[in-house]
């Protein structure tokens, strides 16, 4: 065989190795953001689990505010469904959007509930309620931090995927689309959750 043939073979081998390298890197980044989403999921579940407790504790004091409690309970149910949907397809634009809207609704419901509590000093003094409020505050923070970590990982994946040449190779090997960031409408409120005063 002539030297030209060897050069062609060498180039092909280099190209194949490079494609494998890019594919592995993309897949590793995807696994990372999927793990990042699993973290958010854990923390969102923790949040959802706290709400029945909160509603039950508040019920005794808030007999005339049943509508707010009902709203929170319903928002929680919707959010749980959204988490389940997102669980199967993390990073997907549609499920992330649904999750973002459901969690935002839950956050604003909780915000209204907090505002209601202001009128009930007995409830604010309740030992059980104080502990719940700390649990809620820490959970909001955990959700926020887990979301930051997830978004950082998604950003890393997207940036690499869009760079050249991965942008060409990615489309061929099942990495043709950006992963979706998870933004909550009231992310500002979530960040500030520790200031919630019961």
């Amino acid at each position: 065989m002539g030297i030209e043939t060897w050069i062609v073979i060498a180039l092909v081998v280099i190209a194949v190795v490079y494609v494998i390298y890019v594919y592995n890197k993309l897949t590793s980044y995807r696994t990372q953001y999927e793990n990042g989403f699993a973290q958010i999921e854990t923390q969102l579940k923790r949040r959802h689990d706290l709400i029945p407790n909160l509603v039950n504790t508040a019920k005794g004091y808030l007999e005339h505010e049943a509508s707010v409690l009902k709203e929170v309970t319903e928002a929680r149910a919707a959010a749980e469904k959204a988490v389940d949907a997102a669980h199967d397809r993390p990073g997907n634009a549609e499920t992330m959007d649904l999750l973002s809207r459901a969690e935002s609704a839950l956050t604003s419901g909780l915000g209204r509930l907090n505002a209601t509590f202001e009128a009930y000093p007995d409830l604010k003094a309740d030992a059980n309620m104080r502990q719940l409020s700390e649990e809620l505050a820490t959970t909001e923070n955990r959700v926020a931090y887990a979301r930051q970590a997830y978004n950082d990982l998604v950003q890393k994946y997207n940036e690499y995927r869009r760079s050249f040449p991965p942008v060409v190779i990615g489309g061929l090997v099942g990495h043709g689309e950006d992963a979706q960031l998870l933004e909550f409408e009231d992310s500002e409120t979530i960040q500030k959750a520790p200031e919630v005063s019961f």
């Binding site: 502990q131 820490t138 923070n141 931090y145 887990a146 930051q148 970590a149």
Partner: protein
Amino acid sequence: MDFREQQDLARRQTRILVALYVLLLIAAAAAVGGLIWLALILGEQAQAAQGAGASRAPMPDGASWQAFAWAAGLTGGGILLVTLFRWFTRSDGAKVARSLGGRELTGAGETDLTPTERQYLNIVDEMAIASSLPRPRVFVLDREAGINAFAAGTRPENAAVAVTRGALEQLSRDELAGVVAHEFGHIANSDIRLSVRVAAMVFGFTFLFFVARWWFHVGVGPGRQDARLRIAMLVGAAAIALVGLLTVFFGRILQAAVSRQREFLADASAVQFTRYPDGLKSAFEKLKGGASSRVESDAAAEMNHAFLFRAGGARLFDTHPPLEERIRRIEGQG
């Protein structure tokens, strides 16, 4: 800011320091060896001057060089051994925290936690998520009324964080979160390992004091040396002690300078984790407003570099930058 990058930087800094250490070690070993060599030459001259050469065989050729090699080798080896002794100790964060009077909070099945302790545990869990680190072991220093905190442990897997009772009582949730985030910054940036190693290297040179003391004893001790040799030995002992003093002195200053840089870095990491600079800033301002950061425990002096604020000690060897400067940098970042 990328932690991988920061950890690489810490590793690079360690390598530079190790290179500096090796140079100093060679210099110190050569200095001691040279003094021995000089003493032998002087001794020979003294004997020759007294005319004692006739009654004793003259020193064989190369004996003074052999003495030089032995002295230099023993000194270098001694410094190295003392360093290695410290290099690998104090690796376990929980042990360090206990030695400072820390009480562990496990957060698993403890029912008698106060609300602030519960909050502290929650904050640690939050920061573990924010920093993507395993959760360290958590301690409270019950006997300390000042506001302070530290991280210990040379690897994330054996790390511990501790805060004083004063910090739990006097800081708000946001402030405590900033403080805990700062300690996580130390863990994430491998600061504890770096400072342990720098301290070990500085400590190694204290071996020179043993050498100096030994020379001194030989110099004044009984023997058949003449006065000139005795004086030479004493001068040699003083010279070795001086070399030791200088290396330890500059080592301490270097150690403090490294520590101050790592404090800034940990502050920056804290802001990155919490995305909320006001918490740590407000804790600093509380300190500036007159709250104490003093740590009473005797073991604290050696651990000064690990604390959030200075636990005490002199200004030149300060392991922490001034509060105003730290606040200014956090503001610039936020």
